[in-house]
Symmetry: D2
Subunit: 144 residues, 4 copies
């Protein structure tokens, strides 16, 4: 867990750029938190769809790499449910199903008032490589 948090904090430059932190991780589960500052907002001052996806993707990346092999994001379907007005945004990723190479996750994103603002259904593919400090968490797939 501390290992995961440190990896994201030190190596994932995009997560750092957006201020995303991993606040919990367990087998098949992770929670990520992101502040909702001016630079996470769109032209009308709400949480940007891209920022909402980003925090969800980080939670998913950590959750699916907890299984010990490098996993990549094949596909994510995100539904936007309500505007995110206040931070921080919290994303929780939970494993729904896992076979040898493919796993499916659900991710729920809430705003600072606890309102559910988006949900995702995501599919991960596990490569035949051990996770080197969660090195490729959430990497869009490379030649598999």
């Amino acid at each position: 867990m501390e290992h995961v948090r440190r990896f994201i904090a030190e190596r994932d430059m995009f997560a750092r750029h957006l201020g995303i932190e991993i606040t919990e991780a367990a087998r098949g589960y992770a929670r990520a938190v992101m502040p909702l500052d001016a630079h996470h907002r769109n032209g009308v001052g709400m949480a940007h769809g891209g920022a909402i996806f980003a925090v969800a993707d980080l939670a998913f990346a950590v959750a699916c790499n907890t299984r010990g092999r490098v996993s990549v994001n094949l596909n994510t379907s995100i539904s936007f449910l309500a505007p995110g007005k206040c931070g921080p945004l919290t994303a929780e990723a939970r494993e729904i199903s896992a076979a040898r190479r493919v796993a499916t996750y659900e991710i729920r994103i809430t705003d600072g008032e606890g309102t559910l603002i988006a949900i995702c259904q995501a599919t991960a593919y596990s490569k035949n490589q051990p996770v080197p400090g969660l090195a490729s968490a959430g990497t869009p797939r490379s030649a598999d």
Copy 2:
């Protein structure tokens, strides 16, 4: 077009934070470009899934707001096809179908070498409000 570019450049703080620019916009179409700097990358140095989604979302937002009414993102399915190694990333959104309130778009994202790295299928909902300088481009839906 110039109007759109300026709006994104000045008002969409998330797009600014990621250096995303709108380089073309026409009715039902838009192209957005984002550099691939260190802070757009994940722990293994590839384009971050969240960054790829962000540039796609911006192109989609502009494309669907070109129809003149405030449109919001209901759902986007993104499939990651290949790692993004070099920038800039370019996203092109094209309208596939549009009814009075709902429209469907396809978005293709390529890296600096022209490799197709992701595709999206996205659904937008048009509110009964004129676009005030494209004010809500890509806003996740508020109470409709």
Copy 3:
């Protein structure tokens, strides 16, 4: 509820052709059941992806029309998790979120042994028309 069951049984010819029955319906919720006969199976004898989608779509259609206005399916993302070996297949649709015109549902499909074989994330659009005996349940959208 009895009204709903009768409507599907009498008017939805596709549901009849596949033997799908609505076994429960409440505001924002529905359950549909389908036998797993030879004609619901694919070339290797498992539940066909199309049959799995069909029972899920029926549950979704009924669930979203319980809100009283004609609703249509805009988009459904279905993830297949495990093969369906034995029947009947049961699909349960639950409302995750509902705004004035747009609602989001989750659908879970289990086989006869209770194994979760697929999940869906679905977006419905409500027209400005009262449901005439749930007449258009699950109809892909017409000109809205």
Copy 4:
């Protein structure tokens, strides 16, 4: 091709039950056709969402199995664009991208007048097994 058509016609009982035929297949491509009879329609007389998905799924199944290894459907996102009023419905599946184990397809479904009524984005996983007469075409994934 003839091999494929015969396999679907003889072994895929669900496709038979709906009258779906494979009318063309090439590497990474397939076209399937389904009549639009009373039993393919919903309560208001339009093509049923489940029937539209079924013909799309068959085209996808054949297209992804043309690569020679057993492929299964991991996830499909289907967007409904317009009502299908007249038959036959035609689905064309095209490979967008293919890596060693994972491939992504786009499927377009048109009605008898050539109107685009739905599009799909679909992800397939290739098992390490040769296709035995396309035996598992489109099978939702089994333990991989």
